[in-house]
């Protein structure tokens, strides 16, 4: 973990107070921040700090169960990696949870390394997801700073047309296209045509055409 990265938080949701408290102590002892919740509802209604995080979630709870919370979070587009813990590790439930994207499914009692490894893996997954999301947002902001004409030029550039062809297509001079193109590269912070193509792929605007 680099010093510059924000400290991750582990959210623990278990209805059993003893188990909850013991999990908190164990996770803190591994130098991780932890917040505990007695129910899925309590977790949903508490505002969360926007830092890399993961859920340690009990499967069987009164009210909203662990699996139901997993479903609910997916519905409201909250992507947070989940480590399930359960008193009775029945196969169908674990298969369901894993298929829905859980990081790990642990049967109580579990080895501390197993839990902490799963948590580290979950946080790493969340960091990557956050990084990707931040990059996408950043990219979109840059793209939105382009003028209509610049966007047009960008689309034609990444589809593989030469400046001359673009100029002809847009009914303007090659020099003008060169200026637009330089502006696009600068605003998008692309240092090569290849980089610009990758960006347009991420933005979902690249449709390389057959010439």
């Amino acid at each position: 973990m680099g010093m510059s990265e924000p400290t991750a938080i582990v959210f623990v949701i278990d209805d059993d107070e003893s188990v909850r408290k013991s999990l908190a102590s164990l996770i803190r002892s591994a130098r991780l921040r932890v917040e505990t919740f007695a129910s899925a509802q309590q977790f949903l209604t508490t505002p969360r700090t926007n830092v890399p995080s993961c859920l340690v979630l009990d499967v069987r709870m009164p009210g909203l169960s662990g699996l139901e919370l997993q479903k609910r979070l997916a519905e409201i587009n909250i992507d947070i990696p989940i480590v399930f813990i359960t008193a009775h590790g029945d196969v169908p439930t674990s298969v369901r949870a894993m298929k829905a994207g859980a990081v790990e499914f642990l049967t109580k009692p579990f080895r501390d390394e197993d839990l902490l490894d799963a948590i580290q893996q979950a946080i790493a997954r969340d960091r990557v997801a956050r990084l990707q999301e931040a990059q996408t947002i950043d990219l979109r902001t840059r793209y939105e700073s382009l003028t209509a004409r610049e966007r047009e030029v960008m689309e034609l550039v990444v589809s593989g047309l030469l400046n001359k062809q673009i100029a002809k297509k847009l009914g303007t001079s090659e020099v003008t296209i060169k200026v637009h193109r330089a502006q696009v590269m600068k605003k998008m912070r692309a240092d090569s045509l290849a980089a610009l193509v990758r960006m347009s792929e991420k933005l979902g605007i690249a449709h390389p055409r057959e010439l």
Partner: protein, 364 residues
């Protein structure tokens, strides 16, 4: 039963009924003739005999008695005496009323008898269903109880394991965090006590469960269980034999609980013989008098047997030698018997297999 035997079975009671009816009729005739009773009185007295015979008997003897009564009425009591013939009104009315009486009454009685029989049958079926239900319910409660105990105790155990790990980590950290480690250790103690409290509560609950101890026919109880399990055992190629001592005194016990114990021992015994292929799969259940005031039941199997060092542990809760066992059956069985003032133990057979024996005190 063969047809011939069936006929003989029906014939003798009928003959006896006919004979006693004829006897009663003859006696009545003798008395009435001696005292010169008038024909109407005799006709009514005969009717009483016919009604009585009809109540006890079936149509054929009853009709025969009716005819005899009519003949004797006509011959001995209506003018002209000592002749047969339809001379008076009574000669017409008597046979008709006699025959119709015997017909109606025997019909009604057979219907009544049939409905009593059906009712008895229904009661027997109901009794059987009830005792099966009791067993199933009890078995289910045991399963549910075990699952609930497992969950309740697993929670504090999980917390103890977590706190133990956390405690070690706090101490291993640089610098060690003694305050956190102490807190985790305190929680270990608290959760250990909590688990123990759960066990104490369950024990109290088991003790509180209502038992209905009454005089119990132990042989009947064994037969009931064998009746229930015999088919399943036979399907698995296991033969169940019963060697029950006659004239055993009733024991003091809760029928359902004792059934449960026997069922458990029988099912265990059957299971123990399943991996046996080189000798007959046998289960022998015997009952006999033990000391002066106890009855002993032994369930002896020809199965794989149990290691000597396991023989006592098999009665521990959650100890099991079966891949899918809960390890509760023998523990609960032993506590049921101890609650009854009896004992349950296991011994290795001289030959292959194991014998489980239990005692129950006589009913006083």
């Amino acid at each position: 039963m063969s047809n011939k035997a069936n006929l003989a079975h029906k014939f003798w009671p009928l003959a006896a009924q006919l004979l006693s009816g004829t006897g009663a009729l003859a006696l009545l005739t003798l008395v009435c003739f001696r005292f010169h009773a008038n024909s109407t009185t005799v006709a009514l007295l005969y009717l009483i005999v016919i009604v009585l015979v009809s109540l006890k008997s079936s149509l054929v003897p009853s009709a025969l008695i009716s005819i005899m009564a009519y003949v004797s009425l006509d011959y001995f009591f209506t003018e002209p005496l000592f002749t047969l013939g339809l001379n008076q009104t009574l000669d017409f009315v008597a046979p008709i009323s006699y025959l119709s009486t015997s017909f109606v009454i025997t019909r009604l009685m057979s219907r009544v008898r049939r409905s009593i029989e059906e009712q008895k049958q229904a009661e027997a079926t109901l009794r059987e269903a009830r005792s099966e239900l009791a067993l199933v319910t009890r078995a289910m409660t045991m399963g549910e109880l075990a699952a609930s105990i497992a969950h309740e105790i697993n929670q504090p155990l999980t917390a103890i394991v977590n706190n133990g790990s956390a405690c070690l980590r706090w101490l291993a950290n640089e610098p060690p965090d003694v305050a956190e480690a102490q807190e985790a250790a305190r929680d270990i103690i608290r959760d250990g006590n909590r688990a123990s409290e759960i066990i104490r509560r369950i024990r109290a609950l088991l003790r509180k469960t209502q038992t209905e101890k009454a005089a119990l026919d132990i042989n009947k109880t064994i037969q009931d269980v064998v009746l229930l399990t015999g088919n399943e055992a036979a399907a698995k190629g296991v033969e169940i034999q019963m060697k029950l001592a006659a004239d055993l005194p009733p024991v003091m016990g809760d029928r359902v609980q004792v059934q449960q114990v026997i069922l458990n021992l029988v099912m265990n015994g059957v299971e123990a013989t399943l991996s046996v292929f080189d000798r007959p799969r046998q289960l022998v259940i015997s009952s006999s008098q033990y000391k002066s005031d106890e009855v002993i039941v032994a369930v002896k199997d020809s199965g794989v047997g149990i290691d000597l060092n396991q023989l006592e542990r098999i009665f521990d809760a959650f100890y099991t030698t079966k891949p899918k066992g809960l390890g509760m059956g023998l523990a609960i069985s032993r506590s049921i018997l101890e609650d009854h003032g009896g004992l349950l133990w296991a011994t290795a057979n001289e030959g292959p297999g194991t014998t489980f024996q239990f005692t129950l005190p006589n009913y006083k």
